[in-house]
Symmetry: C2
């Protein structure tokens, strides 16, 4: 009778407040343990376990055991993209949380999206690389050019040698706040790591916010000008 994939299934999964909180917490990209996620979601460890089981079963999160801990991650950049898209719809639908705190502007400016940089800074980096042909779009594919590779290497960004088919080097990800693409994929991840390691920016507590220092900010704008 019915056709197509069961949308209601995963939607219902994400639709539970506790699970949604967990997923949003995982949007920071850091691996979290079951009990940390319980705390994040405001439920007891038992319930957390129950929810995480369902999320893992549906393939929305992955886990790796490490000693007596279980570390959870978002399964995939695609899952992150779905959550990001959902944020966009929720945002414009006026379905914001009770109190839209002072963090929101900071979120729009720079935040981590799973494992790469999003927000205004993410978009700017993406555009800047594109404008200088360090990055080229080919249909939906995205490629790092030779020039782009050497540019990043010279900066000090570490990149794998070869582009594998399985994990694309570059990938674009739609930004809910800017409604534009930012850079995902291995390059996106490496770039974010670079910023953090150089001390140009740092993560804020357990949120998705990325805070650029004064000097880091000016360096960023010097390099990724438009």
């Amino acid at each position: 009778m019915k056709e197509g994939p069961n949308i209601a299934g995963i939607a219902a999964l994400i639709g539970d407040p506790a699970r949604a909180n967990m997923l949003q917490a995982l949007m920071t990209g850091v691996a979290l343990t079951a009990s940390e996620l319980a705390q994040e979601a405001g439920v007891t460890p038992q319930t957390s376990s129950f929810h995480l089981g369902r999320l893992a079963e549906a393939g929305l999160v992955t886990l790796r055991k490490q000693g007596r801990h279980k570390y959870y991650n978002l399964a995939d950049a695609d899952v992150a993209a779905l959550l990001e898209a959902m944020s966009g719809i929720a945002m414009r639908s006026g379905m914001t949380r009770v109190r839209t705190g002072p963090k929101e502007p900071a979120l729009r400016k720079a935040r981590v999206c799973y494992n790469h940089l999003a927000g205004e800074y993410g978009v700017q980096a993406y555009d800047s690389l594109l404008a200088r042909a360090f990055l080229v779009e080919d249909g939906e594919q995205l490629h790092l050019t030779g020039d782009g590779r050497s540019f990043l290497s010279e900066l000090g960004v570490v990149l794998p040698d070869k582009e594998t088919k399985r994990r694309p080097l570059c990938k674009s990800c739609l930004d809910w706040s800017a409604r534009r693409s930012h850079l995902a994929g291995i390059v996106g991840t490496s770039l974010l790591s670079f910023f953090l390691e150089q001390g140009w920016a740092k993560r804020v507590d357990g949120s998705r916010i990325i805070e650029f220092s004064k000097s880091g900010d000016s360096r960023f704008h010097a390099i990724f000008s438009l």
Copy 2:
């Protein structure tokens, strides 16, 4: 305490089977009345009314009264994109409907996505236009070139004269089956209408499937070769 938009809200909205069915029915792009949607979802008109109220309130659907009918539509291409993305995740998570009917291959081949063409045919058209520089990507923006405009006009596709800011002429939409972009926006809509009006293809009953005729198929491939 919490930050960011309320993902759980819209997810829960989509998470109800009845509402999910309604939304998927609306993915065909045709406007449906409340009772048609009730039938589609397998619920009574009362329940349908209840659900549609919530969907409209959240801004996921729009309605226009016409006589004693209320015609419902998806609010936006963004909502369609969200549902499409969700289909992708649901698909690979093995959360397919009980029986994956014989329609599925047809869906992968060509289907309507809200109001434009998706599936293999949609992707091919997109790539073909891009390859001949009838369409150019500029960051996330997508533009129809002068050549592209005259090419389509010559074919007989009707297009509005000017590109307005509000409704972009072109827009890319991610395809869940092909994992590639296909053409959305006004051009995408016009193109689909063109195929249907010319009799190259027709819609299948109330599903999202687009069925190309023998002659329509060959004409399509002649024009949108790669």
